[in-house]
Symmetry: D2
């Protein structure tokens, strides 16, 4: 604790890590940012300086020696999640682990078990569950306003070209993991049900340099799914689309339909006399679109520690998304329907 | 009558005239297009050929000799309306007269009197009263859904540069007459009240060639008004804006607000990766935007003849709009508030 | 020919049939509506009366005896298309055949062969290809503005509950045929390619009375597909959604994305002070949404006869859509990926 | 200074005051929130507790004894601004003064003089100049994209019923001051010019309890204006509209038009099958809509102190807006055009 507040260390000082760090620095009552950790010393030092804090570490292990730190946000590359989470849990510190939770279901289960055995909170970083629009939609569904959920259609298309470390799907789990984990979680949340079977198709349309060495790499994916509840699901994902960070959901129910999503980058519409067209800027990044959702996510994490309540997004949620990612990748590679 | 249908002659074969002609040719049950009349013989002949009819005249006077014609649509230049309407009324034929009704209130009163004395229908061409959205708004107001009307704000901005015959405001009555007659009528209709006082400002921003000879010419106008009901009004008008035919209304009530208007030319949104912008085409013309309204207007005209009912838009409506146009032009020229 | 115009007979006087009939009566230069045919005499007579024409028949066979008729619009139930089209073709009359073209690929091929052997025009009724927005999108794609097409996502959800004759999928081909034929054609058109493989899932969510007798019936369907070009496709369809006629398309390219679709029934937005919400009416029917597209479709049909050119939508287009419908139904029933 | 940062005291702990206080606490690099001051001790204490700071004062005079404080944000009722600002300036502390700057032009000039004589920064709180959309629009104008500015139309309608202290226009300056100061500043900014003459109409539509005692009170206002540049202006304002915080601007230029504004409270559209309508929530408050603008405004204030640059919004801007407010109120009360 730091002055009666939950001391927080962010492990991994990349873009998403810095969003969390800034939140715990300023925007989360009851929390204090104690440190950042990053294996690249220059990154760790620069991010601490940028945040105006003094303490940085080169690993979560170093941080664990600081007894002021009560909680960790794990924003490292996915493949390191399982070890980092288990080691932090063993020291009985709370954890907010970014999505994807891990590389496979076994890892997720080890992480869940470690959290349970050590009686710590383990929250998974599906921040869309804290977005105002998504929460509004969920409450509309729960109030029965659209009847039973028949179908959820969700897409996320990111503007940036994939980085080469994503090319090896076996190591990165691909866009389904990096981009569409959110859609998978959203579909589970809005149907209130689990994926039962799925079929996915992937293709590489924008990364010609990856084709020779990584023929399995895909930067665009479409998927259909059946849910245990009987509902249907559709998902599409893309990296490198350029035009926008395009994230939308439609929830079709027996009594109506909900549309979620925003393409407009700001509210300036420019009408041009020469072309008789109207033009508006598009959403550039998830960082702007979900800024408030990240803040509420971080606040909820601290509140579940302070009030000793269940996190709103649990290890089970993280595990089920990983399960679907892996099934989707199998479906793409083996060109077959996969039962879950 | 032609085969038991109301025979119609369109007087004035310009763009608006042809819209009416095509409607009476095809889209108005109970009516048959008998002829077109236009003083320019080549125009009259070409429009008849385009419509696939045989009969054309060089004036309404010629047409009046044809006893098959029961009704006239007057789409001539405004300054000729008073004489044409009186002469047609004297022959006891029904009249749909395009807006603006006439050049001044005296003319309007002569026209109304001629219609009354000869027991004919005189309908004025405010076709927005037949538009689906405008009718929807009117019914919402009448149902009390937005409470009492506090303020109506209406604008029409046309894409096309004014033609030189409009430069002399004394002869053309300017954009207030040519463009904003519709807004004036809309404001009267939605407030259910008459203009009590107004103040308008005009300026010439896009027609530099008119400035020397016609210093009073304006191509942009803003106006505020008080209504007898106590409601407030705002209007703006423009010619030559280029970007679109931009017609919108907001009706603020004590319990809510109605927005009317559509800028989108079609429903194609194109998102560009290079500029991260979304672009859509804008409405190009009133002809497309109000096509269905013209059709319903023409149908209503025939129905009021067949059923011997009052036209939905009367000579009084035409006169009150002319009164406001003239008051607005006085306000602009004399730079003062005008009481009506 | 009738007065030098192509004489047209509409076979099947239901809702879609009457749209065509009204067009040929009024809106298609070079064409004249000669007759309607419908096996139910009362329907045939009433529709002729409504159209203001004198001639009606109880079958296309009766009509074929009328040498004034040069062209037929076939809007009968799908299962009758093959025989009707072959019999009309044998008499060397031109045909606009509504979608779905037929029940299966064999029927389509018989129809195409009949048209070829008799040198007649055979156009298939995918009217979206004549919609302003869809044409705009196609021209944007062809101009290379969005680069190569990566993925087309298309959905059509109809407001009305399916009628009992649709319950037997073997006889009706289900919503894929009745609702999503349009999406299938759109996907072929925008990708410029053929379906290579697909996987579809169907379910019955709104028609409980059909479940016992017709366990295969579905009123909601999702589908993913691979195209020969390498592009990906997604489709969803529904009957009985109630809230709107909801038809949208997204075309993702390597340089941008196109959004098509319109949910707004008119342009009236009502803002309510008590609930702080804004409400607008939704599109009620394909009849309003695609009214102009039907008109242009009918005009194009007459033009291809007059100019002796290839129809814009050919028998091949009709056949390929039927092939995909059948493959989709097999996929749903056999729960497997289907190669085409 | 506090740890090398600009120490800030917020004077007036109401809703707007707390927005600034939270910003200086967390969101403004180079600044530290030192204290809040409010004449109501309970308010002062509670706000300090809510902010997690220890120091609060009952007046700016008390605060001026604290040498750690370098800058003040004045969010007191408008009538106190002149004295507070002069007293703070006399102590050579920097000032961010909320809008409206003061009750009349004389007061504004005293404040400007006090700032100049004491060489302090005086920034006025027109936060819309820091809003992303507004800044985008300004840069589009400056780039010449819409040509010369012909007309600016701006409206602000607030959802909340006016509080009784606003009823006496002589004391409150009315909605023109409280609500439309922003529109007035926006119109000056986007035209790059000063108001030359104006005409305004006011009315009381929603506050019947004010009518007897305060016949001059208005809760709805419309205004037209001429600018020195020749441009035209339109403004409307309202209090108590209920449905939304409705703030929009249109900037008509000779080459195009810019639309600013956002009515949607979040991005959830709910489509209802029973009514065939789509419904979305509306913007509830300026606090949400302009949250980021307040943050950037506060950051800019600190930056102009640190870099010794001119504030982006100066005392002159504040004065000119007050001048227009007063002219508008005269116009309403004396029912005449007012020259400035």
């Amino acid at each position: 604790m730091i002055d009666g507040k939950i001391g927080v260390c962010v492990v991994g000082a990349g873009r998403a890590g810095m969003i969390h760090a800034v939140n715990f620095l300023k925007n989360v009552p009851g929390a204090a940012l104690a440190a950042v950790a990053d294996p690249v010393e220059e990154t760790a030092r620069a991010s601490a300086r940028e945040l105006g804090i003094e303490t940085y570490y080169l690993s979560h292990k170093q941080a664990l020696e600081n007894s002021d730190i009560d909680a960790y946000v794990v924003v490292s590359p996915t493949k390191f999640h399982v070890d980092i989470v288990k080691e932090i849990a063993a020291e009985k510190k709370h954890i907010l682990c970014e999505k994807p939770m891990a590389m496979n279901v076994d890892e997720c289960e080890e992480m869940i078990q470690a959290a349970e055995e050590n009686h710590i909170k383990l929250q998974i970083g599906f921040m869309r569950r804290f977005d105002e629009s998504f929460c509004h939609a969920k409450s509309v569904i729960e109030a029965g306003e659209i009847g039973d959920v028949v179908m959820v259609r969700s897409n996320t298309r990111g503007p940036s070209i994939p980085r080469p470390w994503m090319y090896d799907i076996k190591k990165s789990n691909g866009p389904l993991a990096e981009v569409n984990s959110h859609d998978i979680d959203t579909m589970r949340w809005f149907t209130g049900s689990e994926f039962k079977s799925l079929y996915a198709i992937g293709g590489n349309y924008r990364c010609p340099d990856a084709k020779a060495e990584f023929p399995d790499f895909y930067d665009n994916v479409v998927m259909t799914a059946s849910f245990e509840s009987g509902a249907q699901g559709m998902l599409d994902g893309a990296q490198g689309v350029g035009y926008a960070y395009d994230a939308k959901v439609e929830i079709l129910g027996t009594k109506g339909c909900i549309y979620l999503g925003n393409l407009k980058g700001d509210n300036t519409l420019i009408c041009h006399s020469d072309t008789r067209t109207g033009t508006y800027p598009l959403v550039e990044s998830w960082r702007g679109l979900f800024k408030d959702a990240y803040r509420r996510e971080d606040q909820a994490f601290i509140e579940c520690i302070l009030n000793d309540t269940e996190p709103k997004v649990t290890g089970l949620d993280g595990k089920m998304a990983v399960k679907v990612v892996n099934a989707g990748n199998i479906s793409i590679m083996e060109k077959r329907i996969v039962e879950l």
